[in-house]
């Protein structure tokens, strides 16, 4: 990377951190006074951020588990860096959701007084277990204590835990009967597919831009990874099509209204431009035409990984913007009891803080931690 590019990146990062520190301090000093979510839209940007970051973390680690479980040696070099990025994404997602709690200092209560009928309790447990698991495998990998058999076992356990955690995240929304937009059996499946897509796209991005030394001479591996991401894009688009087209076919029912609002409402551009054009069509073209090109694969991965934030936004928010009763929005006049929401600057700042901190940790960690050490050992699977 050019020195001038690095400098620009550093300046942007410092500005983001400064703004983020301001937001975090406001949240810590004044609680939730400066957030824009309320009684009728209780989940806002931080829930979107949590779903997105945790999804990235789960999806990218699932790549490693698959590589380990099926002994895909040529991708071993990507494993350590991917686990590192995954752990950071999981940690940042956890921190974002802790800031979303009305009592953030009670964030650990679900661990020692869990109510296991609640999917949120399961998600909290899986979140902590999964984060620890990723860190454990990463540490063992660094200590070179993962032989072939151990890796395989870690891989299968990881696949099981990762899919459970990802599905649980989708089920958290899908099981809520109060919101027809979420209350779909496809919810957990879409969540798993989406996490796979965003995570694998992040792996592609890291492989293309940050790990030139590892896959440098192996364009076939990069090409295959590009095709896997392409396949996942197609899968997610098909699932989305299924979700939207079924409700739209006869044009009646509550889901139809909600889906129409997403597709043709005031925020139509989020779906058509953010989710579909930037998150699917452009990357698909790039990955289809030049799967082995580092630039094309890197940009494709970047677009998918970033645009998936919009998909999460379109999952969390439209589900809440329709009143549960006609006229509820006029029944009581209060700025927190409305069905309109746009995140406040403090909400954005807190999210930016954790994302910027995560990026800083990753770039700093790459320099300090031996992420690309002993290439030969990695390539031979530790044997």
């Amino acid at each position: 990377m050019k020195k001038s590019t690095k400098r620009i990146g550093l300046v942007i990062w410092l500005i983001a951190m400064a703004w983020g520190v301001f937001g975090v301090s406001q949240r810590l000093l004044h609680g939730e006074l400066q957030v824009n979510y309320g009684g009728y839209i209780p989940w806002g940007l931080w829930v979107v951020g949590k779903a997105y970051l945790i999804g990235l973390g789960i999806g990218s680690s699932l790549f490693v588990w698959i590589v380990y479980a099926f002994d895909l040696k040529k991708y071993f070099p990507l494993a350590r860096q991917t686990l590192f990025a995954s752990a950071i994404a999981l940690l940042m997602g956890t921190m974002v959701i802790a800031f979303d709690l009305g009592h953030m200092w009670r964030a650990l209560e679900p661990l020692y007084r869990p109510h296991f009928t609640s999917l949120l309790a399961w998600a909290t447990w899986l979140n902590v277990l999964y984060l620890l698991y990723v860190v454990l495998v990463f540490c063992l990998d660094i200590a070179s204590k993962t032989g072939f058999g151990t890796r395989r076992a870690f891989g299968w356990i990881g696949i099981f835990l990762g899919i459970a955690f990802s599905g649980c995240g989708g089920a958290e929304f899908a099981a809520l009967i109060a919101h027809p937009y979420w209350n779909s059996t496809l919810g957990p499946i879409l969540s798993i597919a989406g996490d796979f897509l965003s995570g694998f796209a992040m792996v592609l991005l890291l492989a293309a831009f940050f790990q030139e030394d590892l896959l440098g001479s192996d364009s076939q591996s990069l090409s295959q990874l590009s095709r896997v991401v392409l396949g996942l894009i197609v899968l997610v688009v098909v699932l989305e099509w299924s979700e939207y087209s079924i409700s739209a076919w006869y044009g009646v029912g509550q889901e139809t209204t909600l889906h129409n609002d997403v597709l043709f409402g005031s925020s139509w551009y989020l779906f058509w431009i953010g989710q579909l054009l930037i998150g699917a069509i452009i990357p698909a073209i790039l990955l289809l035409r030049q799967p082995a090109s580092r630039t094309a694969a890197g940009i494709g991965g970047l677009l998918v990984a970033v645009a998936y934030f919009v998909a999460r936004y379109n999952l969390v928010l439209p589900g809440q913007t329709t009143p549960t009763f006609a006229g509820l929005q006029n029944a009581y006049t209060d700025s927190r009891l409305t069905f309109a929401y746009s995140p406040s600057s403090v909400e954005w700042a807190v999210l930016v803080f954790w994302v910027a901190l995560g990026i800083g940790l990753f770039i700093g960690g790459r320099r300090l931690a031996p992420l690309s050490e002993d290439l030969h050992l990695a390539r031979t699977g530790g044997r």
Partner: protein, 315 residues
């Protein structure tokens, strides 16, 4: 403070009764005059019908006027015998003598009597000292029909205290549960403020306390905003810039459990101007609510969800 409130409440109905007795006295003296006026009115109506050939609708309205004059004869037995508040309060005292598991609190709201004054909403806010962003009993107002044939339906919407509450199993820390008497409650000291229960409630009956005060942004937060409330029979103090519970918590209607404990009806029931809100023990077969739930007008909100609400409406 509770004691003061209690004495006010016991005083209230007595004053009301004394006033009513005086009214009854004067009514007895005026009975003859009323009967005379009634006869004149009915006679005039009959002459008008015959003279101007009123259509069916107008006839119906005249007939309903007639029915109104004879209203008390057609009303349910429970509504005739004395003040309905007195009766419900008496039934409440009887219910409170029973073990918790033997009671089943229900609320009945007569939408034909509700005039949309929102007195219940205001009294609830005052009773529980609710901050901005928190509401336990909003009143929905819906226009029906098309001009010129329009009407308005009011739907006061407290927590439904469902028998199969979707908000309870979603709580990750068991901070909310359904009591044996049917009331769904929240432990403010356990709630972590994840707002999952808000999302799970199909009635939007729960809101969250974000720590707002009406006086924020003004030179002074007035003392009435910082006085404590007594929900769940505990003293809860809210202070600006503090995240002590109930700030940060999910909050909802609790059928004024703290008032029930003192033998008082929920605030929304006692302040209902139209006498449209009824409350009582459904396990008491002689109770007013039990009587009312035998009506063919009974309906529930979103019954198709299987939540089995304990709040019923008379449509």
């Amino acid at each position: 403070m509770e004691k003061d409130r209690g004495s006010r409440d016991t005083e209230g109905p007595e004053v009301e009764r004394a006033g009513k007795d005086r009214t009854c006295e004067s009514v007895r003296h005026q009975t003859g005059r009323r009967e005379l006026l009634q006869t004149i009115f009915m006679g005039a109506a009959a002459v008008a019908c015959a003279t101007f050939g009123l259509d069916g609708e107008a006839r119906a309205s005249t007939c309903s006027a007639e029915a109104n004059l004879a209203g008390p004869l057609l009303a349910p037995k429970g509504l005739v015998e004395g003040n309905q508040l007195d009766r419900m309060r008496h039934e409440l005292l009887l219910a409170m003598k029973k073990p918790v598991s033997k009671r089943k609190w229900v609320m009945v709201i007569d939408q034909q009597k509700c005039i949309g004054c929102r007195a219940c909403n205001i009294s609830c806010n005052t009773e529980n000292n609710l901050p901005p962003g928190v509401v336990y009993r909003p009143v929905l107002s819906q226009e029906v029909g098309k001009y010129p044939n329009v009407g308005r339906v009011f739907t006061p919407k407290p927590c439904m205290h469902c028998d199969n509450p979707p908000c309870v199993p979603v709580c990750p820390v068991k901070a909310t549960w359904k009591r044996e008497d049917g009331v769904v409650v929240i432990d403010y000291n356990i709630c972590i403020g994840c707002r999952n229960c808000l999302e799970a409630c199909p009635y939007s009956a729960r809101t969250a306390d974000f720590g707002d005060f009406y006086g924020m942004g003004t030179p002074e937060i007035m003392p009435y905003e910082t006085r404590p409330n007594y929900e769940y029979s505990k003293e809860w103090k809210r202070k600006p810039n503090s995240d002590d519970s109930p700030v940060g918590n999910a909050r909802k209607c609790h059928f004024c459990l703290h008032r029930l404990r003192e033998g008082m009806l929920p605030a929304c029931v006692t302040t209902c101007l139209g006498g449209a809100t009824y409350f009582g023990d459904f396990n008491d077969k002689n109770s007013l609510v039990h009587e009312l739930l035998g009506s063919s007008r009974v309906r529930q909100l979103k019954p198709e969800l299987g939540t089995k609400p304990s709040v019923f409406y008379l449509a």
